[in-house]
Amino acid sequence: MSEESETKGKQELVKVTIDDQTIEVPKGTTLLHAAMKLDINIPTLCFHESLPPQGSCRVCVVEITDKTGKWTWIDASCVYPVSEGLSVQTQSPNVIKHRRAIIELLLSRAPKSEVLLLLAEKYGANPTRYTAIDKGEANCILCQLCVRTCNEIVGAQAIGTAERGLHKKVISPFSIAKENCIGCTACIHVCPTGAIVAKLGKESFEIEDWGVDLKMATCSCCDKPFAPTVHLEKLKSQVNLKNQLWEMCPECRRSANKVGTPYSPII
């Protein structure tokens, strides 16, 4: 009985060679994760540890050779599950050539993205090879990281992609359902190209790309805006805190000296 459970608990391990280094990883691991374990750096844009891989930016392409050594092909490492005997090259001339072309194509969508320009410099890509579709206003490569973060992690479901082809863009549903946004700014932080810009006013929080305009809650102690009211409302349903604390910004919660009157931070 115990032997059975042991074999069930054991995951099948497969051997894979990445840049002449061999590693044993559980079956189903992606090549990118296997490379990360070996401290091999593969550039990524649309990859985030908290989300399942999507494989939309294609910057992480690698050259894969099967165990017979007969077949070699290029594929995105973030979505490629390892199998026995694969041999992978992450910096071969062929990989560099493909990566360069991908970066050049992405630059036509996001010509002013700093991350992409740095990658272009590293791989010798010509930033102006293709005419820019976008003149740098949107800088979005449509990797959908923001959309997936909003829908799958935060659960606000405030944004999605609309239209097709050249006109595809990230907007709030039908550009009208703006009230779903809670102003958590996670989309801004995960965006690899820095395409989303938020404006923080005195009493409002704006994201122009999807027409969001939220009211900010002001701290009862220092009178500074600290979080959108909808964000606080969402949290109130999850966490039980004193009412007094919901009106205070984190700085005032921790430093009672600015408040003047000390308080007890007891839930």
Binding site: S50, I153, G155, C184, A186, L235, L241, K242, P250, N257
Partner: protein, 160 residues
């Protein structure tokens, strides 16, 4: 017994060396604003209270985190809640849920909090008066008992 960062209010002089040490350890600059430990100064009462993450048994920050970027572990015999940076999306849930305001979201979009410096807190090393200490909770409890007894003893003497 597990270890914990403990603090003796009578010994604190409000020099804020702990703040400088903390920000230097984590951000390589002496900037109290970026520090994870904050000394509250009550000028009229002349009392000083440093406050940092107390590594709650039931951490609200960990509860609200949608990505599981906050993980509880043991470091050098002390329970600690760590931020796994590459998992964080910067949604600020933890920042707004912490009743002590002891977790912040940096400009890089990553949550940042006291991690006990991997088991050897820099603030304790920098504290000149010994107000901050990193010791087992058993020892801390014993000291507390002793201080209460001392206080009662003082009152008794006054009464006599």
């Amino acid at each position: 017994m597990p270890k914990a960062l403990s603090f003796n209010q009578e010994k604190c002089t409000g020099c804020r060396a702990c703040e400088a040490a903390c920000s230097f350890k984590h951000h390589q600059e002496f900037n109290p604003v970026k520090s994870n430990i904050h000394v509250s100064i009550y000028t009229e009462e002349a009392s000083f209270v440093p406050l940092t993450c107390i590594q709650c048994t039931v951490p609200l920050c960990k509860e609200v985190c949608p990505t599981g970027a906050l993980q509880k572990s043991m470091i050098n015999g002390a329970p600690v809640i760590n931020v796994i940076e590459h998992k964080c999306v910067g949604c600020k849930m933890c920042m707004l849920a912490c009743p002590f305001g002891c977790i912040t979201v940096l400009e890089t979009g990553r949550a940042h909090k006291c991690d006990l410096c991997g088991g050897e807190p820099e603030c304790v090393i920098a504290c000149n008066t010994g107000a901050l200490s990193f010791k087992s909770t058993e020892e801390g409890a014993l000291q507390k008992k002793r201080s209460v007894v001392d206080k009662f003893h003082g009152h008794q003497e006054e009464a006599i």
